[in-house]
């Protein structure tokens, strides 16, 4: 029964079917928007546009494909099959490398240039030195004969290839199960305490909700720009404040990982402005609105935003330029243009820089100030090294398998010479020329 199950799990047909099923599942994720990567509004729109698909999507969790139970089951069976195959491949490679003594080559008198068997009147020392020069290693030495192999490490190619996939998937599963991730958007001077809500939080099946071990405060950040526009880098100064009040200043930069108290912190490449507007209506009632917009990364291009606030019965459309004078991207003097709409009809428009005021429809508006924000990702992860080592081992295995093909020479002693058998398990035709050359050298013939 156990043998039967093993046979089913490792049969090429099962592996092929599993590969096909996994790939088809991945391909499905291209056509069906996934919850983790699609904004909720966009997801709803897609689902409304495809009502006939909805029952199937819900039944099989196709919008959360990579965490669906059936996908996990598929992956589990694949892992099981892979584990058994890796073990079998290991045993096979070990046997080839260490356990095969030199066997008797079958008797033959073939002497055609590509024949696998031949005889050579050569001493043991000459045989060894000739084969050594040709890149062959002696793997077995018995009274009856020897076994030489060129590129014996090629035996381990398939083992490593399978082991690499196994480690990668295991690492990925561990990561998915235990990781904790939180996204923050902090304004300069703002402090995020461990109890404050995240902009976005996610944690693995076996992990509790993510809480920072200390409060974090953004002191300031500095975006750097290319001469022609576009963000070159963003550098932020953060302060971690532990529960006992100890402060630890840290600096994050785009493209480099900051590690602190077991956390990994990434500087996001996005940043923007909060425009603080003070609105006063005709009755004298005032209220503050904050327009949160990403910063433009070019002097001539604007960023845009649409806003609906409970405080006013209008729709606001806004655009902002990085510099009102359009001379310096880092000027910290942005220009805000606000448009007021009622029932899709434009009522009024107003342009403001810091401290300026004007009328916008029924409101007197003043731009009180502009504060800057930028984003950070915090992570607690286990399993990443496993994934990288897994892919590295897989690549090494594939390299060994396709680039270093073992060529075996079994040498049987006989009457002052040897009877030899050459074997190449893969791509044999590509090495026939090399075989002929070795054979001619052993037989004392000159190379062609």
């Amino acid at each position: 029964m156990r043998f039967h199950l093993k046979h089913i799990l490792t049969s090429p047909k099962t592996v092929f079917a599993l590969l096909l099923l996994l790939l088809s599942s991945v391909a499905l994720s291209i056509f069906i928007p996934q919850e983790f990567s699609t904004p909720p509004a966009q997801l709803t729109l897609w689902q409304q546009a495809h009502p006939t698909w909805l029952p199937i999507i819900q039944r099989f969790d196709l919008a959360r494909l990579f965490t669906a139970p059936w996908f996990a089951a598929l992956l589990f069976i694949f892992l099981l099959s892979l584990t058994i195959t890796t073990y079998d491949q290991f045993r096979h490679a070990y046997k080839k490398m260490f356990s095969i003594s030199a066997p008797m080559p079958p008797p033959t008198n073939q002497l055609s240039p590509t024949a696998d068997h031949f005889e050579a009147q050569i001493s043991a020392a000459a045989l060894h030195s000739t084969l050594k020069r040709a890149g062959y290693w002696k793997l077995a030495d018995t009274d009856g004969g020897n076994r030489y192999v060129k590129h014996p490490w090629g035996y381990w190619g398939l083992t490593l290839l399978h082991l690499g996939i196994l480690i990668t998937i295991a690492g990925a599963l561990l990561l998915v199960a235990t990781q904790k991730e939180g996204v923050l958007r902090l304004t300069e001077g703002e402090t995020h305490t461990p109890n404050s809500p995240w902009l976005y939080e996610d944690h693995g099946l076996l992990a509790p909700s993510f809480r920072l071990p200390a409060a974090v405060r953004l002191e300031q950040f500095t975006p750097e720009f290319w001469n022609k526009g576009g963000v070159k880098s963003i550098t932020s100064n953060l302060i971690f404040i532990s529960p006992n009040g100890q402060a630890a200043p840290l600096t994050t930069t785009t493209g480099s990982i900051l590690q602190h108290q077991g956390l990994r912190i990434y500087q996001e490449k996005t940043f923007g402005n909060n425009f603080h507007l003070l609105l006063t209506d005709r009755t004298g009632i005032t209220g503050e609105l904050i327009l949160d917009m990403e910063s433009p990364t070019s002097l001539t291009k604007a960023s845009y935003g649409n806003f609906d606030f409970q405080e006013i019965p209008y729709h606001l459309k806004a655009k902002s330029y990085a510099d009102a004078a359009k001379t310096n991207l880092a000027s910290n003097n942005p220009l805000l243009v606000v448009r007021l709409f009622a029932n899709n009809q434009l009522i009024d428009e107003l342009s403001l820089t810091k401290g300026e005021h004007g009328d916008l429809g029924p409101y007197a508006v003043k731009l009180m100030g502009v504060t800057q924000w930028t984003g950070f990702i915090f992570w607690e992860k286990t399993g990443m090294p496993g994934i990288f080592w897994g892919i590295f081992i897989f690549s090494l295995g594939a390299l060994l398998y396709y680039f270093t093909i073992p060529r075996e020479l079994y040498c049987q002693k006989r009457d002052g010479g040897y009877r030899l058998r050459w074997k190449c398990p893969r791509f044999r035709d590509h090495y026939l020329e090399e075989y002929c050359s070795v054979r001619q050298r052993l037989q004392g013939l000159k190379n062609p």
Partner: protein, 275 residues
């Protein structure tokens, strides 16, 4: 800057001219069995490659980053990588030389398309930097080259099997071409895997995650899986000859989609790539 564009375009056109002449000479050399013409074609290709390399280095110096952002520079770099990889592999595997019938025109086509897109300086986004990105691009480049060689050998196989043009007899035996196509697909698979690995390290440094099911990542994984299926079928199910060639053509189309078409249609963290 206009002066730089003029120099760059001039260098590219010079390389293209040499490649075109070499393509014609090489085709004639193979069809009419003129070894001297074929040898001359290879000399022209090497000269073209030197000029092409200088053009890429010059552009690298001008824009301050490697050729991995704008369509123009990506296509030019891919063409360069394909030609260099082909020349390097044709030393230990001289039997692949007839694959030049497809490789040389493919190189010309890629540079031609690149010039058609017009060179423009694109600023490097903050996440597009580091040695892992450079390695990521280089390994995809080598992978593409080996896949094109495998495709050329598979198409050669189909031609030899289905048509009876006398010059086709000068190509390697069908069985040899089939085996070489298998081997080069294996090479392509290896390099594609390493490209994904280096990409994962780059993504980890840039975004804090090794994999994000981004459209380009997903398509790259599907392509990798396509090649894995091809190799699995050949290894365990005895797939060979025309059926293997047909499957390889599908895998090649998948790789084209991943490298050149997905970035045009889908938003992605690779969004600055090939735009």
């Amino acid at each position: 800057m206009n002066n730089d564009f003029t120099i760059l375009t001039g260098m590219h056109w010079s390389a293209v001219l040499l490649y075109v002449v070499a393509t014609v000479g090489n085709t004639m050399g193979i069809i009419f069995q003129k070894e001297q013409t074929e040898r001359l074609a290879y000399r022209l290709v090497i000269t073209g490659l030197i000029i092409h390399s200088s053009a890429l280095l010059f552009w690298w110096y001008v824009v301050g980053h490697g050729p991995y952002l704008a369509r123009y520079e990506i296509l030019s770099a891919m063409a360069w990588g394909t030609m260099l990889t082909f020349l390097l592999f044709s030393k230990p595997f001289p039997a692949i030389r007839p694959a030049s019938l497809l490789v040389f025109p493919a190189v010309v086509l890629m540079i031609g398309l690149g010039i058609f897109f017009n060179p423009a300086v694109k600023a490097l986004p903050p996440t597009f930097r580091g040695i892992w990105l450079v390695l990521h691009v280089i390994f995809y480049m080598i992978s593409l080259a080996t896949i094109i060689i495998a495709l050329a050998l598979s198409l050669g196989y189909i031609q030899r099997k289905r048509t009876s043009y006398s010059w086709l007899a000068r190509l390697p035996e069908p069985a040899a071409m089939d085996l070489l196509a298998y081997r080069f697909t294996g090479f392509g698979f290896v390099f594609w895997s390493i490209a994904m690995l280096t990409g994962a390290v780059w993504a980890y440094q840039s975004w804090g995650r090794f994999w994000g099911w981004d459209p380009i990542e997903t398509w790259s994984l599907i392509t990798w899986g396509g090649f894995a299926i091809y190799l699995h079928l050949r290894r365990f199910f005895g797939l060979k000859e025309e059926k293997a060639a047909a499957l390889l053509i599908i895998c090649f189309l998948l790789s084209m989609a991943s490298l050149f078409f997905v970035p045009l249609f889908d938003s992605s963290i690779h969004s600055e790539y090939f735009r």
